[in-house]
């Protein structure tokens, strides 16, 4: 049993080493594909077997695994310190040194090294493993053709792909380790590995801006690491155990414990790029698109959310819980607002990611069974839809050479397949009956119990999010010439895109059963009864399957009606009668010349300007976090 867990962690690490040292493209491709396949199977196998009680890992080559992790921990901190030194970042150096000092104190003085079962898998972990292994693997597969094209575009003399895939695949292993660990020290170690991998991946292209953004990501996450260490020490000093399962059983015992948990939440906030730490995730989009997809959807940021969710049951009902909820809701609102002002596709996705993570954290803070269910659903469905969208933007960027949504106008005319998949992805992000909206629905219903400010922030945020997603999807629709040539996609590009878009739809349909078999046992008390394929609770009913059937039939009819459009008269748009004869988007102007019209989205610059809003939001967010931490004391 524990073998499967170890496999999930060590196989990616081994594959990463193969990718790095065997400098052959074929071998690399095979290694990535095989790892993806085995990870997917292992994750599904784990799912089939059900939860795993905390288990010991034993020793490697006669060295205790706890000791090994401790050694690796210090080695990793050393490496991070080295990069901080090399990039002359005092922040990184300071935060890392502080971590080292505290960790030495913790390991040598405080901790009595009892044996703690290192790995465990409850439903939360299983869902996370599923997301990481399946979605993450698909992203790695997508990266194979993408990176080839990417490097051809950059005209590199020597390929840097071994290094790239080393970190990509290693990342998956680290994430699996993080979500499966039952020893808080192990969790900390994997937390640091993800920090380091993301730093290397963001800086992968080694341009000046990439390096600068990578350094920023590193110092912010090093701060998170420091918060993690402090939190860990405070929690240990009160609870006296490193065993997370035991901690969960213990519940909140006092102010010190709560403060420790607050620090752990802060660590989660930095990793999940909550305001005011959002800048590192926005900076991360300079990296090749598979990295953004990996960081934003399934791994890095979900690690942060996971940390908060993991400890959420301990602080249920405390002021800290409300604080976390308010911080999360604020991030949701702020990032939704910031997203309205953006035209860069990746940046829109980044803001929407941070906003959705805020929503998940808000749910963790509300901390009722309904809210926790919402959080889990959001994690699952957001990972699928968002990774799909990132991969789509990457594909579009390679096709049209831009990631600006204004340049994607009428994309259906030239790249119908990619455009359609992107539109499906966007719709699954914001409309019923899809999973993300199911989560949002639960979140709003759960928030009605908690706090009026949270309700207002969620209401505003969800309206803002519809604005920037709807106009993006709409502007990609467009006319297609009857004789336009078909779009070609490499198999390894199409496979992940199709799998993810199908997954986002089919899994949404299956959400009542996902809820029954996976979510309900973890949440404990049952917030929903499942009947007729719908989720019923005292709050309200989401009729998943009937809605799917009705809307699906309606959509099918609409598609059928629309597919007969060749029999309908096609007429150019109304332009006051002065349509140009030669071009469909131009007026006849003076001297019978063409005067093209251009239209852009309303970005509401005066209300939602990023440069104006960001400082205000950052200040407010810092205030809220201080309030949250102070409230814990």
């Amino acid at each position: 049993m524990s073998n499967l867990l170890v496999l999930l962690i060590l196989l990616p690490a081994a594959a990463a080493v193969v990718c790095y040292f065997v400098r052959s493209e074929a071998v690399r491709k095979a290694a990535v594909l095989a790892t993806g396949g085995i990870l997917t199977l292992a994750a599904l196998g784990l799912l089939a077997q059900g939860t795993v009680a905390p288990t010991e890992v034993g020793s490697f080559l006669g060295i205790g695994s706890d000791f090994l992790v401790a050694v690796l921990d210090f080695a990793l901190l050393g490496v991070i310190y080295f990069y901080g030194y090399r990039h002359k970042s005092l922040l990184i150096q300071g935060f890392t040194l502080a971590q080292v000092v505290l960790l030495i104190w913790f390991e040598l003085v405080m901790v009595e090294h009892e044996s703690v079962p290192a790995l465990a898998g409850d439903q939360l972990s299983l869902i996370m493993v599923l997301v990481v292994s399946v979605v993450g693997s698909l992203i790695c597969v997508f990266a194979i053709p993408y990176m080839k094209k990417h490097e051809a575009h950059l005209h590199l003399k020597k390929t840097r792909q071994p290094r790239f895939f080393f970190y990509m695949v290693l990342f998956l292993g680290a994430m699996n380790g993080l979500v499966l660990s039952n020893n808080i020290l192990w969790m900390y170690f994997f937390f640091e590995v993800t920090t380091f991998c993301s730093f290397m991946l963001i800086g992968h292209d080694a341009t000046e801006i990439a390096t600068r953004n990578a350094v920023r990501a590193l110092w912010m996450n090093a701060l998170g690491g420091l918060a993690f260490v402090i939190g860990m020490m405070l929690v240990y000093s009160q609870a006296g155990t490193l065993n997370i399962a035991a901690l969960l059983a213990l519940g909140p015992t006092g102010a010190v414990m709560l403060t420790g948990l607050a620090f752990l939440c802060l660590a989660g906030f930095t990793k999940a790029a909550q305001i005011p730490f959002q800048s590192w995730l926005l900076g991360a989009m300079v990296a090749p698109t598979p990295v953004s997809a990996l960081l934003h959807s399934s791994t890095m940021v979900k690690a942060g959310v996971f940390v908060v969710l993991r400890f959420a049951p301990i602080f249920a009902g405390t002021f800290l819980s409300t604080g976390v909820a308010v911080c999360g809701a604020f991030t949701f609102l702020a990032c939704s607002a910031l997203g309205v002002g953006q035209s860069n596709g990746k940046k829109i996705l980044a803001y929407s990611t941070v906003a959705n993570l805020g929503l998940i954290i808000c749910c963790a803070g509300i901390n009722t069974p309904l809210a926790l269910t919402a959080a889990l659903l959001l994690i699952l469905f957001h990972a699928i839809s968002k990774s799909l969208l990132f991969l789509c933007v990457g594909t579009i960027e390679q096709a049209i050479g831009s990631r600006d949504i204004e340049d994607m106008r009428g994309l259906y005319g030239t790249n119908p397949r990619t455009a359609l998949i992107t539109i499906v992805g966007i719709l699954t992000m914001m409309l019923p009956p899809f999973g993300v909206l199911l989560g949002k629905w639960m979140a709003i219903e759960a928030s009605a119990d908690s706090n009026i400010f949270i309700v207002v922030m969620l209401a505003l945020g969800s309206a803002l999010m519809v604005v920037y997603l709807a106009r993006w999807a709409g502007s990609m629709m467009g006319s297609r010439e009857p004789d336009a040539k078909a779009e070609s996609q490499p198999l390894l590009t199409r496979l992940p895109l199709m799998t993810l878009s199908l997954g986002s739809v089919v899994l949404s349909l299956a959400s009542p059963w996902i809820y029954n078999s996976l979510l309900a046992p973890w949440v404990g008390s049952e917030p929903f009864a499942v009947g007729f394929g719908s989720l019923e609770s005292a709050h309200g009913t989401f009729v998943v399957v009937p809605l799917f059937l009705v809307l699906g039939l309606g959509l099918m009819y609409a598609v059928k009606a629309a597919s007969g459009y060749r029999r309908v008269k096609i007429m150019p748009p109304y332009m006051s009668g002065a349509n140009s004869v030669s071009a469909s988007d131009a007026y006849v102007g003076p001297m019978n010349g063409d005067v093209p019209f251009s239209s852009g989205n309303l970005y509401l610059g005066e209300l939602f300007a990023e440069s104006k809003l960001t400082p205000v939001f950052n200040a407010l967010a810092v205030a809220l976090i201080v309030l949250m931490m102070g409230g814990a004391l």
């Binding site: 008269k569 007429m571 150019p572 109304y574 009668g577 002065a578 349509n579 006849v588």
Partner: protein, 147 residues
């Protein structure tokens, strides 16, 4: 049953678009006067729309010149069938006193088929309403013949 209701409805809901080809504004003002409470053409279900794609009847005032004949043709083409055209005022009918001018093509019927001619300089609102009603009768006949 539904088919006959649709047929009946055609005459009851003529949506009108007004295009000023090059009028002195005399006829235009009379067209707009039809909308005022005094004449209230909405009684007959007539709605003044701004877009050929929503229109059933095209009211044209003024002479057609070489510059705007393309626009007139284009607007006419963008109206979905069934549709009717009503030329209003002396200029719209024949070019009026401008018919010999070097830049004038002539009446509306030089460019698009006209169903009803409403005379006058300017045409009276009563005459315009009468023209629309006559146009609807023709248009019902046209639909009938097309079958």
């Amino acid at each position: 049953m539904f088919g006959s209701f649709i047929k009946k409805s055609r005459a009851k809901s003529p949506w009108i678009m007004h295009f000023d080809c090059g009028s002195c504004n005399g006829c235009d003002i009379e067209v707009l006067a039809c909308l005022t409470p005094l004449y209230d053409v909405e009684r007959f279900g007539i709605v003044h729309v701004g877009n050929p794609k929503h229109a059933d009847v095209l009211l044209v005032t003024g002479t057609v010149n070489h510059r705007n004949k393309k626009v007139l043709k284009n607007l006419y083409d963008q109206m979905p069938e069934p549709k009717a055209v009503i030329a209003i005022g002396s200029c719209g009918n024949s070019g009026g006193i401008f018919r010999e001018a070097y830049n004038v093509v002539g009446g509306v019927d030089k460019v698009i088929p006209v169903d009803v001619y409403v005379p006058g300089c300017p045409a009276k609102p009563e005459a315009i309403i009468d023209g629309v009603v006559a146009g609807l009768a023709k248009f019902a006949q046209k639909v009938e013949e097309a079958k």
